[in-house]
Symmetry: D2
Subunit: 350 residues, 4 copies
C-alpha cells in the first residue's frame, strides 16, 4: 500500500526532531518535506547530527515545500505560539489536515487566549475548527478534524490524571493542586539563561508561579471532562524545572470530604482506560525513566485517610506523550491507521 | 583563648564528613576525636580523600576515644536511628552535651516513635531530656540542653516555612500539603538500589507516600509552634528524589478561606525572622544552588487569590541547614559562641 | 514465517533488559524464555517496571527453562565472567548457538585469561569454539559459530577505530594510546561505592590504570586485524568514569613518523566501512548523544602535522553497540537474517 | 590592621562571582568596588542571588568606580580576551597592580597571540610587563608584578602536572599528549548551543581539536620550565566537555625510552612541591570532587613498563585553582600576605 505523505513545518526544535525520530520508523508514513526558514538548504542531519545516514533530507522553506510538491495529506506545525496561528491562517485553504503543536488553538476563545498569553489572537476562525488533540478523551472528534490543537505537555500529564475522577463525579472537591516537575527540554531548544547548563544542572526551582499558561488549558479541558463544570475548583498549578532532559511528573493533591479507598479509585481508572493503550495504571510510584522515550502515561492513584486527600502521580515523556508521540497518535486517527502504529517505543531505562 | 574540644561519633556518613568540612575552619573548635567502628585505625582522609592534607586524624573506636582522652565538651552522634539511642543511653553519665543527628529523640513519646519508625524505643528517659534543635524556634532551650535532637532535613525546610504563619494564627487552614524534593545524599552513603547512579540520574519519582517518618515530626513541631494546636490540620507530606546531590525544595500549599496578600504575609515572615541570620526572605522563586553548601534557608511566600491558597517555597541544603550546619549552630549556642561562628559558608553557585 | 525462538539467561542486569528492549520489537524473534535464579517466579516487568504491559513474561530458573520447552535456536548469556564459562560448559551439548556477553571466551588462551582476570579458566574447549563477535571484522565466521564471544564495550569502540588503520598498514607506530570515557552503566547494575550516585554524579576520574582487562582484548584482536602482528605496539588503555548512564568515547592517539592527511585517512576508513551499516564516518567531533540508544559507532579521524600524530575519536552506546545491539547483530548473522533487522534504533538526542 | 582594598572589573561572569565567593571571607581584604557595564546600578546579589544578604554592593561602571574612589591597591580584570587588553592599556598609569584573567598577556609575543587567537593585539607593552601568574613556578616574580597574567585553566592543570618532570630532565620525550576534560563553566556564563543544558547534559565530546588556544600557552610555559627548551616535544592537547559544572581532569601520556618507576617519579614530584601548599601528590586516581570548590591541584604520577610511558593525572577546580583561587593566591603574594590566606576552602564532596 502506498505510504501516507506528511510534512513537518519547523525542523530545528525538539518537537521537530522528535517527530522525525518516530516517523522514520513508522511503517505507513513517508516524510514529504521538512521546513526551516533559518536553515533552508542544509540537511536535516546537519542540524541534528544524530540522524546522519538516517534522515539526510534537505530542509526547505515553507514557500518552496508547498509550491513544488503535490500536497501531503497532513502537516505538523512545530512552531512557537503566536507564529503558529499565522501559518494556520495561511494554510487554511490547503487540502491537508494540520496538527499544531503550539498553544494557539487549545483554549476556548480569543479573550481567554489574550488574558493568559498576553498577546492578541489573529485567527479567530481557528477556535471553531480546532479539536483538542488528547486521543484518550476526544478520539472521535480527532478522526475527522481539519485542525488539531496538540495538547501542552503539562496539561497532558494533568488531564489524563484527573479526567476519570472528574468524569466519575463521586467526590466533592474544594481544591485541586497540581505540583509538576519537568525536564529542561520543556524550555525549548533556544539558548537562554534558563537553559544554561550551569543554571539548570544540579539545581531545582519553581517557576511561572500562579501565572503559567497551562493553568487555564488544564482548567478548561477538565471543565469539559467533568460531570458538571461547577464541580471543578480553580486549578493551582506550579511547574518546577528538573535537572534532566525529558519527563514530567505531576503530583496532584485533591482534598475531599468524601471518603474512599485506593482500590475503589483504581477501579475507576482501570475502567476508564481499559482500551487506551498508552495509559498504564501502576501499583507503584512511577519514575520518569519508566516512560522516557515512550508514548506512555504512567498513573498512580491513592487515597490518604489521615488527610482526606486523593493523591495522584502522573509521569510522561514531555517530548513524546507530551508532544510528538501524541501528535503521531492523532495523525494515526486522522489517517485511519491503528492508534498505536509506529508508537511501539520502549522506554529507555537506563 | 583555648579552643573548645568536641568529638564526632560516626565518621563514614555524609553528616560526619560535612561536620568535618565545617569544623576544620571553625575558629573556636578543636576536633578531639572522630570515631568509626568499621574503619578504626584508618585516617579520616583515607575514608574521605578530599580531606588529604586537611584532616588526616586517625579514626578511633568509641571505646578507645572515650577511654584515652579527657572528655570533650560536646559530642555529635552521626549515627543511624535505632543505633543512636543505644549510644545516648551509654553516654548518659558523661559530662558532655550530645547533639544527635538521628530521629530517635525528635518525637513526643515512645509510642509515637514506635508507630512511625516500626521499632521499639529503648531509652525512654531521652524523651524528657531532648530539646528539638531548631535554633530559630528553640534557641533558649538549646543553650542549656544536655541532649539536642537535631531536626530532620525535610522538617527543617517545612517548619521554617510554616512556623511564622501558624504562630501568627491569622488564617483558618483546612489542608496543609507539603510537596518536597530532595537530593540523593538524603538517602545516605550506603550503596543501594535507590542510590545507584543509573536509577537516580536523569530520573525523578515520589517515595514514602503517606508514610514518611518526617510527617509526624513536622506535625508535632508545628503543633507546638502554632497559636492553638487545634489549628494545624493533618499534614500531607510527599517526598521526591531529585537527580542531584544536595538540597531540599519544599513547595507548600495551604488553602484558606481567609483572604490576604503577598505583602501582608511577607511582613509576618520578615518580622518573625528579623534577627535570624540564616533565614532569607526572597522576592523570587529560590533555587537549590542559591543555598548549596551554606546554612541558609531561602523562603518565598505568596498568596493566590484565584485559588485562595497560600503558597510557600523553602530551599535548604539538606546536609548543612538540614543536618551538619544546623548542628554546628546548636553547638555554638551550647558553647556560648556567636550563633553564626564558623558558619560563614557562601553558597556554591555554580 | 514462523519466528525464531531465542532465550535469555540472566534477566536482572543492563544487558538483559537492553536485549529485551531490542528484541521485543524485532520482527522475526520470539522470546522463548528469560531466566533469573534470584528472581524466578516474578515477571520481567516486576524487575524492570518500564516493561509493564510490554513484557510481562514470568522469569524462570535455567533448570526450568531448559526442561520444559522445546529448545530455542539461540541463547544469550547475560552473566558475569567466571559464571558464564560454567553455563557454556553445561550447555555445550544443547542444539542452540550461544552468544556470551562475558569476557570468558574473548581471549586467546586460558593462560592469558588467568593473567588478566586473576582466576583460572574452567572450560578450555571454549577457546577453540568461540568466535569473536565483532561483525565488522568477523561476519563470515560468526554466521556459522556455535559460540560467539560478544566483544567488550571498550574493545568495540577501540577496535572499530583502529582496524582500518592497522589493516592498511601505511604507518609505522611507536605508541598506541587509548583514552576512554564510559558511562556508569558500564559498571553494572549492582549497587556499590563506584555506582553510588553521589560518588559518580558531578564527578570524573580514571580507574583501572595500567591493568584493565580490556587492554589485552584490544591488543590481541588488533594483532589479528593488522597487516603484520609485529606492527601493533603495546596498547596503553586508560578508562575513565563519566557522570552519565550510557556511552563510550575513546580518544585515540597514534604518534607516527609517516606523514599523512585527514583526507587520506578518511578515504581508508570510508572504504573499509563502505558496506558496514553501523559505522558512521563523521566530519565533526562525535558526541555520545548522537549514538545514545542506537547501534551506531561514530568515528572521527584526523592527523595533526604539528605533533605528527593520528587522532581518532570513537563513540558508541556501551549497552547497544557495546553489548546488546551487537549481540543482536551477531544473532541476525547466525539466524540468516539481514544484519540490520530489528536494529533500526534512532539515537535519542536529546 | 586596615584591610587591603581591591576592585573587581567584570561582575557577571563565573570568575567574578567566584572571586566574590572567596574574597567575602578573606580576613585582610575589603572589596572596594565591583563593576559591570551592562548591569550597573543593580546590586551584586541581584545578578547572583546566592549572595543575598552577603554581598549586596551596587555594581558600578568602570568610569564611576575609578572616578569616585581613592584607588584600590589591586584590581582584578574578569573580562573576555580582546576586551581585557583595552582595559590594561587604559589603566596602565593607575597606581594599582592588575591581575588579568584573560589570555591577552599569557603568551610570548603579539605574533604568537595573533596566530592562535586570530585577532591583532593592541597593547604590546603588556608583553614586557606581564608575569605569568602560576605561583608554584613564578612566586618571586609575581610578588613585584604590576601586571599578572592569570593562567588558563587547562594550562594550570597541565603545567603543574609536567613542570617537575621537565625540570628534572631525566627522560627523553618523543610525544607529549594531554587529554583534558572540563566542566561546562569553562565555556563561560553566556548562553549558547554549547552551554545549552540538553546539549551538554548526559553527553560528552571533544572540541577544539588540534587548535585550542591553550595548546600554545602550555607549550611556551613548559619550554621555560624545562631544563632545556629543546627537550619539550610539540604538545598535543585535546579538551573534552564533561556534563558537570566544575573541574578539569587532565590525563597526560609521555612515552619515553628511559625506564623509571612510580616511586622515583613520586620522589621528584614530592620534592618539587614540598613547600607548595596547594599541590597534593596522591596515591590514588584523583577525582574531580576531591578538589571541587577548593584551590588544590591533585596529582597522580605513574609509569607503565609495558608501554614505556609515564602517565600523569591532574585534577583541579577550573574556577578556583584554574581561575579565581589562583588569582587570590597571586594577590596574596603581591600584597605581602601569606600565600594561603583566605584560601582555606575545603573541597565539597559530595
Amino acid at each position: 500500500m502506498a505510504k501516507h505523505r506528511i510534512g513537518i513545518i519547523g525542523a530545528t526544535g525538539y518537537t521537530g526532531s522528535e517527530l522525525a525520530r518516530i516517523l522514520v520508523n513508522h511503517p505507513d508514513i513517508e516524510i514529504a518535506f521538512i521546513t526551516s526558514e533559518s536553515r533552508a538548504g542544509e540537511t536535516f542531519s546537519a542540524v541534528h547530527p544524530a540522524f546522519q545516514g538516517i534522515l539526510d533530507l534537505p530542509l526547505q522553506s515553507v514557500e518552496e515545500a508547498l509550491s513544488i510538491l503535490s500536497p501531503p495529506e497532513l502537516v505538523f506545525l512545530a512552531l512557537p505560539h503566536g507564529v503558529s496561528m499565522q501559518y494556520v491562517a495561511r494554510l487554511q485553504d490547503q487540502p491537508f489536515s494540520i496538527i499544531d503543536f503550539s498553544g494557539d488553538f487549545r483554549l476556548s476563545s480569543a479573550e481567554v487566549y489574550q488574558q493568559w498569553y498576553q498577546k492578541p489572537h489573529t485567527y479567530l476562525a481557528g477556535f471553531e475548527q480546532a479539536v483538542y488533540g488528547l486521543p484518550e478523551l476526544y478520539a472521535e472528534q480527532i478522526k475527522t478534524a481539519k485542525l488539531v490543537a496538540n495538547p501542552g505537555c503539562f496539561p497532558t500529564s494533568a488531564i489524563l490524571a484527573l479526567a476519570p475522577l472528574l468524569q466519575a463525579g463521586n467526590h466533592r472537591l474544594s481544591s485541586l493542586i497540581i505540583d509538576s516537575k519537568t525536564g529542561v527540554t520543556g524550555a525549548g531548544v533556544k539558548a537562554s539563561g534558563t537553559t544554561h547548563f550551569s543554571n539548570a544542572h544540579d539545581n531545582f526551582k519553581a517557576y511561572g508561579i500562579k501565572s503559567h499558561r497551562h493553568t487555564i488549558e488544564i482548567q478548561e479541558i477538565l471543565g469539559q471532562a467533568s460531570q458538571s463544570r461547577a464541580q471543578v475548583p480553580p486549578v493551582l498549578f506550579t511547574p518546577h524545572l528538573l535537572p534532566l532532559d525529558r519527563g514530567i511528573l505531576s503530583t496532584i493533591y485533591i482534598p475531599t470530604p468524601d471518603p474512599c479507598s485506593q482500590a475503589q479509585l483504581m477501579d475507576v481508572y482501570r475502567e476508564f482506560y481499559a482500551d487506551k493503550p498508552f495509559v498504564r495504571i501502576c501499583g507503584h510510584s512511577p519514575s520518569l525513566k519508566e516512560v522516557r522515550g515512550s508514548n506512555f502515561c504512567n498513573l498512580y492513584i491513592d487515597y490518604d485517610p489521615r488527610t482526606q486527600t486523593i493523591l495522584i502521580l502522573s509521569a510522561i515523556d514531555n517530548l513524546v506523550k507530551g508532544a510528538a508521540g501524541q501528535a503521531v497518535q492523532n495523525m494515526n486517527l486522522i489517517l485511519g491507521l491503528p492508534e498505536t502504529q509506529g508508537l511501539n517505543l520502549i522506554p529507555m531505562q537506563p
